[in-house]
């Protein structure tokens, strides 16, 4: 730092340059120019700063922090202090903090554009050469510098280490099956380049569950075979009662699930509680890189506490005023109860929209093992008949008070890729048309109950399985029952347990299942269209085909429908596309095929999600979109900018 202040002449600059190069291999803190603007620190740290155990706020911020202009976004700049209380149902839910914090190399902004967050900038050439630039003087929550060494450590010692990543680098880092060329340009610049474009790369960095390209190397090296002295490592392995160093490293390095309070982080709040606990306390990260327009270091709230209890009790506890911000484990059917309680307690219930392509969809299993059912499910006329047999209006009115949208499983109106024609395709309630289509297939014979018969004499009756998570699903199915009887089909709703449900579908034992549609329907052309083509065994309409693509042809079955193969082709084309126009065109084609072919039969979307917010908590948007991807639930609305309007919070 002293070198900075001296205003180096050209000669000394040259000297310094060589010194810096020579010093690059040494593990020493990077020289940070302190942030020059006015900085307001939280009183939370006042004591530690006065005692000298923590540097001044200006020295903790990167030279070029990310400035969030709240007034410009129509929100109020706030004050420091307070504790946001959250309720969760399970220890594993502490990963919600990684979602709510939503601190990524790149993030989606309000318009779903990718903008740098941790990164100062990201330069893309030809869609295949990505140069990432870090902020000068950016530090981990323990004060250690965050530099390109952390990227090198991850790439060389983790992603390409046989013990820690037996499967090699993650999918997002493979383009046409090939890993990138990794280069460190300087202490703050890293480059990934591929031969062909890799459009998945940036969205993967901004994902709700991101692909991490870096890890706190300073802390983690003590657990790595390559860096730690053998006897010390053996000692640590023994202490933690694990098998070997790999298990130890893997356990202590989880960034997505903040289970290890010692692991440095870049998120707004850092965990201070080891597992297991009834209550997890997250404290503000003294080195967080965002400030508001007044130079006040974010987050505003000093603490977040997560109290773990039975998930079924969360609505009741929320109603008793035990949470300041609560959306998880609250469903639309709790709304009236919460609204009633909000009159007594100090909170408000906002209604956000959920962002699935379909909150409820029917998924005919194209990989059912029974050949008769499989062929029927693969017949487009049958899927069309099913779709128009459903009275979506009834579902909306009865279950959602008419507040949801009757739509197919496709992009939402809030998405730039929305096409009203596709959303309405085959969503009209037309039992006559359904009957005609079924007759056309040849299912003309009926038994005494009016149920259609297969040529082999079997009745057209089947169970629709659900994962048994909510009564809403079975309520909707009970409504659909009558719609289907009207066209000569008998259904039996059946709820099972989630993993049994999944296994039965993959094994082809389930003919039709009920599940949500696209997880993310707030799509842009830059997001991967993986939900529209078979890419995973967890796609219940074509689990075996998805498994085939997912495993690179080792497991599952090769897709056997022309339209599905076209989707696979389009998806692969997208994976190597270089321009946005190209990607948009592919997205439109894929959305159209999915809507026309009805591989998933969407019933309802844009259902409402109650968000309980303390009356004192400012900046929580009145309207929002609630989904895991791309919003990280409420992460995209930046809870670090939420603040308490209470006398005890400090200006």
């Amino acid at each position: 730092m002293t070198q900075r202040r001296r205003h180096p002449t050209r000669r000394t600059a040259l000297l310094l340059g060589t010194a810096a190069l020579a010093g690059a291999s040494l593990p020493r803190p990077s020289r940070a120019a302190p942030f020059s603007g006015p900085v307001i620190d939280s009183p939370f740290f006042a004591e530690r700063v006065a005692a000298g155990t923590l540097p001044q706020a200006a020295a903790r911020l990167p030279a070029n922090p990310r400035i969030i202009d709240l007034a410009q976004r129509g929100r109020q700049p706030g004050r420091h202090g307070g504790n946001i209380r959250l309720l969760m149902g399970d220890q594993r839910d502490i990963r919600m903090m990684t979602l709510y914090g939503y601190t990524r190399l790149m993030v989606y902004d309000d318009n779903l554009e990718l903008v740098p967050d941790i990164l100062e900038s990201c330069d893309v050439e030809e869609g295949r050469i990505f140069t990432l630039k870090l902020r000068e003087g950016h530090r981990w929550s323990d004060g250690s510098p965050f530099t390109s060494e952390d990227f090198r450590y991850w790439w060389e010692d983790i992603a390409n280490n046989k013990r820690l990543s037996p499967g090699g680098p993650p999918q997002a880092l493979l383009s046409a099956g090939e890993p990138p060329v990794f280069e460190i340009l300087s202490e703050r610049e890293i480059r990934y380049s591929w031969r062909v474009p890799n459009p998945v790369f940036l969205p993967a960095l901004a994902g709700a569950q991101p692909t991490y390209l870096f890890m706190p190397s300073g802390y983690l090296k003590q657990f790595h075979e390559k860096h730690a002295p053998k006897h010390e490592l053996a000692q640590r392995v023994k202490e933690h009662r694990v098998r070997d160093w790999g298990a130890l490293h893997e356990r202590l390095s989880r960034m997505y699930r903040p289970e290890n309070p010692k692991l440095p982080t870049l998120e707004p709040w850092r965990s201070t509680t080891p597992l297991p606990a009834e209550q997890f306390v997250f404290e503000r990260n003294p080195y967080f890189h965002r400030v508001d327009e007044n130079g006040r270091q974010l987050p505003y709230a000093d603490q977040v506490t997560i109290t773990i209890g039975t998930s079924a009790l969360v609505p009741a506890k929320t109603a008793a005023g035990e949470a300041d911000l609560q959306a998880r484990y609250i469903r639309f059917d709790n709304y009236t109860f919460l609204k009633e309680a909000s009159k007594r307690m100090n909170f408000d219930v906002k209604l956000w929209k959920r962002a699935e392509g379909a909150y409820f969809a029917l998924l005919p299993n194209l990989n059912a093992i029974d050949p008769v059912w499989r062929d029927l499910n693969r017949d487009i006329r049958y899927r069309q008949a099913i779709s128009v047999a459903i009275s979506r209006k009834d579902v909306n009115k009865v279950i959602f008070f008419g507040l949801a949208r009757e739509s197919g499983n496709t992009a939402l109106p809030e998405s730039p890729l929305y096409d009203a024609r596709l959303a309405e395709l085959w969503t009209q309630h037309d039992p006559a048309l359904a009957n005609r289509l079924l007759d056309e297939i040849g299912l003309t014979k009926r038994d005494d109950d009016g149920i259609r018969l297969f040529p082999d004499g079997r009745r057209l009756e089947f169970t629709i399985e659900t994962a048994g998570e909510s009564t809403e699903e079975t309520d909707i199915l009970d409504l659909l029952k009558q719609d289907f009887i009207d066209v000569g089909i008998k259904i039996y709703p059946r709820s099972t347990q989630r993993d049994v449900f999944r296994r039965r579908i993959l094994a082809g034992q389930t003919v039709m299942s009920a599940w949500a549609g696209m997880d993310n329907a707030l799509v842009t052309s830059d997001m991967e269209p993986d939900a529209l083509a078979p890419t995973s065994s967890a796609q219940f309409q074509w689990p075996r085909w998805g498994q085939f693509i997912e495993s690179g042809g080792r497991e599952g079955e090769r897709p056997a429908l022309a339209e599905v193969n076209e989707l696979v082709r389009l998806y692969e084309e997208w994976r190597v596309s270089s321009t946005r126009d190209q990607r948009r065109a592919i997205w439109h084609k894929m959305l159209a095929i999915n809507a026309e072919q009805l591989f998933t039969i969407g019933v309802i979307n844009s259902t409402l999600q109650p968000i309980v917010v303390s009356n004192d908590l400012r900046n929580v948007p009145e309207k929002g979109l609630y989904s895991f991807e791309p919003g990280a639930f409420i992460g995209r609305y930046m809870p670090d900018t939420f603040w308490f309007d209470r006398p005890e919070t400090k200006a």
């Binding site: 209380r85 220890q91 594993r92 037996p166 499967g167 993650p170 709700a208 569950q209 009662r241 098998r243 790999g246 298990a247 893997e250 356990r251 289970e259 509680t273 597992l275 297991p276 606990a277 009834e278 209550q279 306390v281 506490t305 109290t307 209890g309 039975t310 079924a312 009790l313 009741a316 506890k317 008793a320 035990e322 994962a467 998570e469 989630r498 993993d499 049994v500 449900f501 999944r502 296994r503 997880d519 993310n520 995973s536 065994s537 967890a538 997912e550 495993s551 989904s627 895991f628 991807e629």
Partner: protein
């Protein structure tokens, strides 16, 4: 007597071996394992489960080995006091269970004492005042406690405790005290919450005990020796305490065998509804997610306690009631 005890202890060994094999088999019966549950859960959330990662974890924890080998390793660990590793909590089972034992014992002890304090006087009263209004009234109350589902009672109690006294919903202590050391304020908060689970869990047990005590006592009260004692002028209180009450306690002593495990496992359903951080919900959660070492080792611990408890109650019975012969079959 000593020979009898030794013999009983020797029989415990094969019992425990069979139990451990049963527990291991039953836990492994459902298809899949913890890692598949994990994958399913992640997908439900919209997260992508990386299948190669799941495979990696499976290997990491030895799930690629045949079940017999895993069983042997588990039992061998148990013998050395190693209860295995919990996948879900990423910590040794012993640490996880240990943290929750104190709370569980606190709730259980309070419940047992509550049950005794309520059930004994009522049982004695209704036996000595058979078919009186008091008898009918109190046994009716007891039966209501037995008949109303515990979880329902728990919800009702919780709701009114919150509305009337402002007690926080669920848990054993106000959230504000959660991570704080024990203090008077915290203790007060614990007591403020404790009565709900104690009454609810105790309600069923109380009713059962009242019935059993009443029936046993009534039996004794009609016997010759009691009638004679009363006829000869022994005061009613003393006559009751001296013999019939003692005789009617056999059922109570043999219950001790069940008390021991229930002290550590607590009442699962009530604990879940009230979201108490006791061992009950932990066990159920572990069984659901197939966190097999946590579930298996804890069940094993419970069966060990049951075996010990039965031994204790057998010995106590022999001491209490000399009519019980130890070598029943041998002397025939």
């Amino acid at each position: 007597m000593i020979r009898y005890i030794l013999k009983r202890i020797l029989i415990m060994i094969p019992t425990l071996i069979v139990t451990s094999a049963l527990i291991f088999t039953v836990i492994n019966l459902p298809e899949g394992d913890y890692f598949e549950t994990l994958a399913a859960e992640m997908q439900a959330q919209g997260e992508k489960a990386d299948m190669s990662r799941i495979e990696f974890l499976k290997k990491e924890y030895g799930f690629d080995k045949p079940p017999v080998e895993r069983y042997v390793r588990w039992v061998a660990g148990l013998l050395q006091g190693d209860m295995g590793y919990s996948f879900e909590y990423q910590r040794p089972v012993r640490e996880i269970v240990g943290d929750r034992l104190i709370l569980t014992m606190m709730v259980s002890f309070a419940t047992i004492i509550f049950t005794w304090v309520v059930a004994f006087p009522i049982g004695i009263y209704s036996a000595t005042h058979q078919y009186s209004w008091g008898d009918y009234g109190l046994t009716f109350l007891g039966l209501v406690g037995l008949a109303v589902p515990h979880f329902l009672l728990a919800l009702v109690f919780m709701y009114f405790a919150n509305i009337w006294f402002g007690t926080s919903i669920g848990g054993l202590v106000d959230p504000a005290y959660l991570n704080q050391p024990m203090s008077w304020a915290k203790l007060k908060s614990v007591l403020e919450h404790l009565w709900i689970p104690v009454i609810i869990i105790g309600a069923g047990g109380t009713a059962g005990m009242i019935r059993a005590l009443r029936a046993n006592l009534l039996d004794e009260l009609q016997k010759q020796y009691y009638v004679t004692a009363r006829a000869k002028g022994l005061p009613p209180g003393k006559a009751l305490r001296k013999y019939p009450l003692r005789m009617s306690l056999n059922f109570f002593i043999s219950d001790i065998g069940d008390i021991l495990p229930s002290i550590v496992s607590g009442a699962e359903v009530v604990a879940i509804v009230l979201s108490l951080q006791t061992t009950g919900p932990l066990l159920i959660r572990a069984l659901q997610s197939q966190d097999m070492y946590l579930a298996g080792s804890f069940l094993m611990f419970l069966s060990f306690l049951t075996v010990i408890g039965v031994l204790i109650s057998d010995i106590a019975l022999a001491i209490l009631d000399p009519r019980i012969r130890l070598q029943g079959a041998a002397t025939k």
